[in-house]
Symmetry: C2
Subunit: 119 residues, 2 copies
DNA sequence: TGCATGCATCGATCATCATCTATGTCAGGA
DNA sequence: TCCTGACATAGATGATGATCGATGCATGCA
């Protein structure tokens, strides 16, 4: 409710755990990881994240993102919020515009957790 | 409806795409990837996959998995079916028992897609 | 000060999902 | 042949989620 606009990691990342296949996941860890995956598990959010990640300077304005979808502005805003809340996207406001950028470490941690690459 | 019990990859895996952060994901790719992530994005299914993956011989009997959760047998069966349908778990029946095993390549592909490791 | 623009929040709606109980199916043993 | 045990399927229900239109809140400009 009182989060700073520039807060880089609103929630904990997934850097907590060894890869899925290396040892049984605790119930607690699973409860912590699932929301991050759930945030990613939507076609629109996947494309949003990918768009932001591959944008010049690694960040993108909401106005640009809106135009890439046939969805209402509130819907895009909602999806960006979901990605921001789990720590996959950072957010900064400059003037009237809001820019989102990926958090590379969060993405790398998640990839390692799933792919089994040593942490 | 007519899937073989031993079918190793009921659906396409995620080996289709370059990493999320390397270029904007197409709408089609996103629609294909999201269901796999959605299958993973549940605490119970995360633990199930992890349990199977870290089990001796890389496979586990449903009876063992049931005992690890405070959930009904049909619920566990449902979750296993979800993981199987997206190609994350393989399945084989021996006698009265059914064994599930991870599909390492599917997991690796997914990890690379997210983590950005070159495919 | 007043207005337009960029984005977030609110409240509603329809769809999807996790879970349950009940039941079906199939294999093995008495 | 009948029964038991292992697992899947069916149908119902309460919860969560994706989306929208309406509205609120800043910022910058005239």
């Amino acid at each position: 409710m009182s989060k700073s606009l520039t807060d880089p990691s609103p929630t904990q990342t997934v850097a907590c755990c060894s890869p899925l296949a290396s040892e049984p996941l605790s119930a607690d860890s699973a409860e912590r990881i699932a929301p991050v995956l759930k945030a990613l598990a939507d076609p629109v959010r996947l494309r949003l994240l990918s768009l932001v990640a591959s944008h010049a300077d690694g960040e993108a304005c909401v106005c640009d993102l809106n135009d890439a979808f046939d969805l209402s502005q509130p819907t895009i805003s909602h999806h960006l919020k979901v990605l921001h809340e789990v720590g996959l996207l950072g957010r900064s406001k400059r003037g009237v515009w809001v820019y989102y950028r990926v958090q590379p470490q969060a993405l790398a941690d998640l990839g390692a957790l799933i792919g089994g690459v040593a942490r």
